[in-house]
């Protein structure tokens, strides 16, 4: 029983991180209509930027490093858009997808050149877990939950109550109508990149804090995010959020039954099953907010 509850908690922690990845991926899809394969590399970049700031010579605190990582990843995403996606704005989504795959490979290899292929971890001191009844949570894990929940809450406030947030939702709902009322699509696209990149950076830092860093960490997380996006119905923000949590839970509960080596296969299976049987998604299709 306590093993089950522990897996549930671990699943929730992992899922809250995947939710951050998935929401960004689905927001980009909602406005630009392609699955950005380079989203994984934004995640990876977030983790490595934070690592860079935490390690000597800079030695900044984890929070400040995380903040710097967000800024770095946002700049990287805007640069990607400017140099590759913006010239392809009216191209079909297959072309955009292939372009994003190219960017993804480029940054994976660039990271490997800079930091090497070895697995790294954040320089956190080992801390004893806190027992909460039958489950144990480490301080780092507690921070992960708090930060992930905070990021989602901020996203909710942004999308629901700000003029820019409403403009983003209107463009993903009906771009022609948004233009009719004077919404400038390019500005909205820039906002979406900023939001998606920030969430990827935060998620990447949290993921690295929970596990570790390596240059190819983006790939498996892209797969998880994609599975979560499909679960939620493509383009649906709150669906993707729930989808991320579901993927985190099913990975951690799945290994109670399956050998641990199959953990990474779970997201793949979800993708295959959904594409075969429910490409329109399962969750949140009728939710008020896209």
């Amino acid at each position: 029983m306590s093993l089950f509850l522990q897996s549930l908690l671990d699943g929730l922690i992992a899922g809250s991180i995947y939710a951050l990845f998935a929401v960004g991926l689905t927001l980009i899809y909602g406005t630009l209509h392609f699955i950005n394969f380079a989203h994984g590399e934004l995640i990876m970049a977030g983790a490595y930027f934070a690592y860079l700031f935490m390690m000597p010579p800079l030695h900044l605190s984890p929070f400040i490093s995380g903040g710097c990582a967000i800024v770095g990843v946002v700049c990287l995403a805007l640069l990607m858009d400017r140099s590759v996606f913006s010239p392809l704005r009216n191209a079909n989504s297959l072309l955009l997808l292939i372009a994003s795959l190219g960017i993804s490979l480029f940054f994976q290899n660039l990271a490997q050149v800079i930091w090497g292929a070895e697995i790294r971890t954040f320089p956190f001191p080992l801390e004893r877990g806190i027992s909460l009844g039958p489950v144990v949570i480490t301080p780092v894990q507690a921070w992960i939950l708090i930060i992930a929940a905070g990021a989602i809450f901020l996203l909710y406030l942004f999308l629901k109550f700000t003029r820019a947030g409403k403009a983003i939702r209107s463009v993903s709902d009906n771009p022609r109508l948004a233009k009719t009322f004077g919404v400038e699509t390019e500005r909205v696209i820039r906002f979406v990149w900023i939001v998606a990149a920030s969430l990827a950076a935060v998620g990447g830092v949290l993921y690295a804090a929970d596990t570790n860093l390596e240059p190819h960490m983006g790939t498996i997380n892209l797969v998880r995010a994609f599975a979560a996006v499909l679960l939620g119905g493509v383009g649906n923000v709150w669906g993707a959020l729930i989808g991320g949590i579901v993927i985190g839970l099913s990975e951690n509960l799945g290994v109670l039954i399956l050998p641990i080596g199959y953990k990474d296969a779970i997201a793949f299976c979800v993708i295959i099953l959904l594409l075969l049987f429910r490409p329109e998604g399962i969750l949140g299709v009728r939710w008020g907010v896209r």
């Binding site: 409403k166 209107s170 709902d173 109508l177 233009k179």
Partner: protein, 248 residues
């Protein structure tokens, strides 16, 4: 009316989609506070005219003059800020935004939050059913309610000229009558309306003037009453149109 200065005039407009030419040498004028109705068969280019006026299609030849200014090559936003708005034929609401958010988006360029709020209140006063459902996603509305919401959204910027593309499309006769009566009231509040309609008879009954388009060209124009009586317009363009078709 014709000796006044038009609020909108289209001069020798030729345009189309990509390389497909749809409109040829179109002329059209709208005077302040009048309802002008465009009729014509399916595919005549009626929606295309409205889209071209609104700046979605750049003119290949000719000019679009709005309130004395050549707006042919100015962006859509400029039209909104100068007092023009377009209500599309279909997909003219944001289905997953709430009704209140839909109205707010209609007033996206009303940058002052207090004026946007006041405008929203005015629209709610016009259409109380929208206030009752303001927190619901717009997809929960019926066809006719959606059409009225779309009109409400267009009114958010307090425009002087409204381009209305087939406001009665797909509506029941009762709902259609309601929509037309609203169009009339908006006109009486002093706004100019350029309206495309399939239900030509009813539309011409509330309009002052009308244009008949066919195959992307001007065919007839004149006082609405005269068009209603013209034998050729009657047989070719009004025959079968109107309400009868929509009765069960």
């Amino acid at each position: 009316m014709e000796n006044r200065i038009p609020i909108l005039s289209i001069e020798h407009l030729t345009t189309g989609y990509a390389r497909i030419q749809v409109l040829t040498d179109i002329r059209l004028e709208v005077f302040p506070s009048e309802i002008v109705c465009i009729i014509g068969p399916n595919g005549a280019g009626k929606s295309t005219i409205l889209k071209a006026i609104y700046g979605f299609l750049p003119p290949w030849k000719g000019r679009i003059v709005f309130k004395g200014e050549d707006i042919s090559h100015l962006p859509v936003t400029h039209r909104v800020t100068r007092g023009m708005v377009l209500v599309h034929q279909d997909q003219n609401i944001f289905p997953s935004l709430t009704i209140q958010e839909n109205l707010e988006m209609g007033g996206y360029l009303v940058t002052k939050p207090s004026s946007r709020k006041a405008r929203t209140e005015q629209i709610f006063e016009m259409f109380p059913f929208l206030r009752a459902k303001r927190k619901h996603p717009a997809r929960s509305l019926s066809g006719g309610e959606r059409q009225l919401l779309a009109i409400g959204m267009a009114l958010m910027t307090n425009p002087e000229l409204i381009l209305l593309d087939e406001p009665s499309m797909g509506l029941s006769p009762q709902m259609m009558a309601r929509v037309f009566s609203w169009v009339n009231q908006i006109h009486e509040a002093g706004k100019a309306i350029l309206m495309v309609e399939q239900n030509a008879k009813q539309a011409l009954e509330i309009a002052q003037r009308g244009y008949v388009f066919d195959l992307g060209k001007n065919r007839f124009e004149g006082k609405a009453a005269a068009l209603l009586d013209d034998p050729e317009v009657k047989t070719v363009y009004l025959g079968g149109g109107g309400m009868d078709e929509n009765l069960p």
